[in-house]
Symmetry: C2
Subunit: 385 residues, 2 copies
């Protein structure tokens, strides 16, 4: 269980199988986010059809509403949401920071006011694991603090050390062997702090490791060197999960640096706002041009929207504020990211990931490929195999 079997490598990029109790997934993979027990607007049947593998659920939201006991009464997230495949839940830590009001962080944990009704809620490492056990995901996350950006070096250091003590408490309370708990490496964008976090985290030998504390406001020029530094130092034989990322270009760059798992609300959120992801960048379906275009969003795409609808029709639905518009754009965007990682896996299998990613970037950035992306595709130090 939770075996991670690398099948091919191309530079630092790798493709692997990750065995979970609810099925084996193929990495690199993008995980759609089902914050409140649903990937917004999309049915489980559609998730399966578009090639979703593992779905992310949010501990913070689900513990507040409907409460983890109700989810547990359904047999966990698969029974509650009717998605039969693997799930991953976050620890709630990140969302307490971004959504909770008047939060107070102590050694014990976090006290915050619910964004729903203002009630005081206590979230500790122990409670986080208990909630995640009730939610029943295949992969659960250690309760950590993700400091904001920017934060003082001293704060980040103290925080990452407390996160290690919280990790220890998570592992102590955890009871279910059918759930893999991933530790999270922190340290912001500072190499010495990342190294410190790695030194303290790796000895726990959890079945996977996450790169946390990024995509919180820093630039791509700051973020990707931190990804490169951290990913390179994580074990070869365990999955690496870059949390809360992302955009198409971030997936390609992350894969180049050896990342295996990604999640982000971006494809569904930007879809609800009327944007469609393509190889030539993001189309604004709210603009006037698509209203007269009788071609699909992307003729190469095999999603339901691209097989059935013109841009003109989808643009009409958007203007008319019809529910089918956000539904179809979300579906397309998720399928776009799944196809992107499928193409990346295929290129890795051929041993030509860098070539494929360079060509993809040339098209995507329209010949203006930024330096951070180029650097991610060509990390100076090749990891010794």
């Amino acid at each position: 269980m939770f075996e991670f079997t690398v099948q091919a490598r191309s530079g630092r990029a790798r493709t692997a199988q990750f065995a979970t109790p609810r099925g084996t997934v193929q990495t690199p993979m993008f995980m759609p986010v089902g914050t409140q027990g649903t990937v917004k607007g999309i049915s489980p049947q559609e998730l399966t059809e578009i090639g979703s593998q593992m779905i992310l659920g949010n501990t913070y939201h689900l513990m507040l509403r409907p409460g983890e006991a109700l989810v547990e009464a359904h047999g966990g997230l698969p029974g509650f949401t009717a998605y039969p495949g693997p799930f991953l839940t976050d620890s709630g830590g990140f969302q307490v920071m971004s959504l909770g009001h008047m939060r107070k962080i102590t050694e014990e944990g976090v006290v915050f006011k619910s964004h729903l009704d203002g009630s005081l809620v206590n979230l500790t490492p122990e409670r986080s694991v208990q909630v995640q056990e009730a939610l029943g995901a295949d992969v659960i996350m250690a309760f950590d603090e993700c400091p904001p950006f920017p934060a003082e070096r001293e704060y980040i250091r103290a925080s990452l050390e407390r996160t290690i003590r919280w990790l220890e408490r998570c592992l102590t309370i955890k009871r279910k062997s059918e759930q893999a708990l991933f530790a999270i490496v922190q340290g912001g964008i500072h190499e010495d702090l990342r190294q410190r976090s790695l030194d303290l985290t790796l000895p726990f030998g959890t079945p996977g490791f996450a790169i946390g504390g990024l995509a919180v406001g820093e630039s791509k020029e700051e973020m990707f060197p931190a990804v490169a530094f951290t990913a390179e130092r994580l074990p070869e034989n365990k999955p690496r999960y870059l949390m809360g990322v992302g955009h198409p270009e971030d997936l390609v760059a992350g894969i180049a640096l050896g990342v295996d798992m990604f999640d982000c609300v971006y494809p569904t959120r930007t879809g609800r706002f009327g944007y469609a992801l393509t190889d030539v960048g993001r189309l604004n379906m709210n603009s006037s041009a698509p209203r007269r275009q009788l071609e699909p969003i992307d003729p190469e795409c095999d999603c339901y929207a691209c097989r059935h609808y013109t841009r003109a029709y989808l643009a009409h639905l958007l203007r008319a504020e019809e529910m089918l518009a956000p539904r179809m754009l979300s579906l397309h965007n998720l399928r776009y990211l799944h196809r992107l990682v499928e193409r990346a896996r295929e290129a890795i299998s051929r041993g030509q990931f860098t070539e494929w990613a360079t060509e993809w970037g040339d098209t995507y950035f329209k010949g203006q490929t930024p330096e951070w992306f180029r650097k991610a595709l060509h990390p100076e130090t090749a990891r010794p195999d």
Copy 2:
């Protein structure tokens, strides 16, 4: 083409096949409403799966946005919406009355201000047919006036006579033989005016007839005698369409009186508001009870929502304002009405419609079956066959 073949009768109720260019439909049938070129929240694939047969499009909305030319450029509503089966479009007359501002009705037609941008729009019998020809539905409707309720007898009489002159103009301008134009019988709830409208309308011998001017605010006690009176006097060998109706009990009563076709926004609209249709009445999924119920909305229902979700899950989605809630409740409600007419057809085939409908009513009204419903199931005068 447009042949209507009665296959079985039970009292005044009948089941028939109605042949249209895009496929043969089985009546009695309920037509989901796709006002702006989409049944709100539901994909064409889902419509097919739940047993939808003919979809209604609204001339008023589509001519204003995106304009009929764009729909025509897609090959009409089937190409635009990707629903491959038969369509019916209304004439726009009814919605000008309910949505247009500062409308002015003359012998020529109606001038109104668009509810979208306030621009002045002219809708005449000729323009209505031309728009409907561009939209390309299989069944199109004559441009009529549907007087409000209540209205003066004299107004209703003058209006129904003008509607006849408009019908004549519609038939004169109509060019496409692959579209059946249905005439609409008006006359409010007055038998003599209904008779007058019938006398003037029937000689046109259109391939189907609609009962218009009802479900506009009158009580069920006023409406159903008017349905009974009109339906009984329409030809046996042509479809009868009761416009803008409706609720489950209205479908059962209408079928008892010999109606073949129904349409209404009710199942999708009430679904979006959080209500689920069942044989024991409408469930309010916003109330507190469903939040803890681990059973489906209706264990007898075969819709996606009932096969996959508990009431507790759907109630959670509603509280969390998740898009999947209106989508799933709309889907269930449409399937409920389709199943209802399927059961009605089956009872008619067995020659036991009244028995089935009585039993259905006993459950639905919880033993308090209203007089108007009982009367509809037992019309005093049996139609001579």
